[in-house]
Amino acid sequence: MTTVVSAAEEFVPPSAPDFWQPLVGDGAFAITRTMVVMVLVTIGLAVVMMAATRRLSVVPGRGQFRLEGVYGLVRNSIGRDIIGSAHFRPYLPLLFTLFTLILVNNLMGIIPPVQFPTMSRIGFPLALALGVYVVYLVAGVRRRGLGGFLKNLVPSGLPWWVVPVVFVLELVTFLITRPVTLTLRLFGNMFAGHILLLLFALGGEYFLLHGEGLLRVISLPAFFMFFLFTAFEILIAFLQAYVFILLASIYIAEVYADDH
């Protein structure tokens, strides 16, 4: 690519270091851009939610109707349908927190003043996944006791020599695979999506500024793809928030499933 463009500078594709954006300091506890976004989103969500639920009426207004739409999605189609109508109520705050926090943070990857997805730094998805991890482990141990919880990992009716293998596999699934996949999925989607957006934006800009003659025209499809993928990112933002709480509620529902 760089050979056909006789520009002074080479095109550098976006890569992982682009996501390291410290604002203050530089180290393990530096204040980074994503931290600020996360804190602002949290404060914004808290303020909006507290204000929106201050005066709820039985007959909803327009704002309340939207809030209820989001809450109904989390409550009915995820919480009630998957965890089951008997046990879903204690988990509603968790699911609703996760959904709103992830959704707004993901949308921050597209909204102009920020345009940097918080969840593309793995620390944040890991924090959320740890929350889910703690909740479903605690719920499982609380429901069956530690022994019952461990015993319940292995489905009954297996030949005795399979039991240890299955036990180890299930334990690894429970303790390692689930939180790791939960984290990596959210992180990977936002990270890859942002890299893709960066690639189109930077490529288009490079052709426009450093290209010669007709090569400048190539920037048009690049920018078009940028818009297209920005729209696609909205879908991804919503889907990832949905999927995160879907999986969280499936893990929680397993605690209440009577047979394995």
Partner: protein, 68 residues
């Protein structure tokens, strides 16, 4: 032209999930076409399958960066 072998690895790891996701949504579409009233149930299941499939590609991209 420079490159990284890890990215080729990611490309390979994306083939399987690509096929899998295609199969999942093909089944979802035909299922909904056959019985439109089961759409809500199928939607959840399809997204779940999509996610479990996509997981592999995400592993691929994560590991690509680990070994780059």
């Amino acid at each position: 032209m420079e490159g990284n072998l890890a990215i080729i690895g990611y490309g390979l790891s994306a083939i399987g999930p690509g096929v899998g996701i295609g199969l999942i949504f093909a089944a979802y579409v035909s299922g909904v076409a056959r019985q439109p009233e089961t759409r809500n149930v199928l939607q959840t299941i399809a997204i779940l399958g999509f996610v479990l499939c996509e997981q592999l590609a995400i592993f691929g991209i994560a590991l690509a960066f680990v070994f780059s």
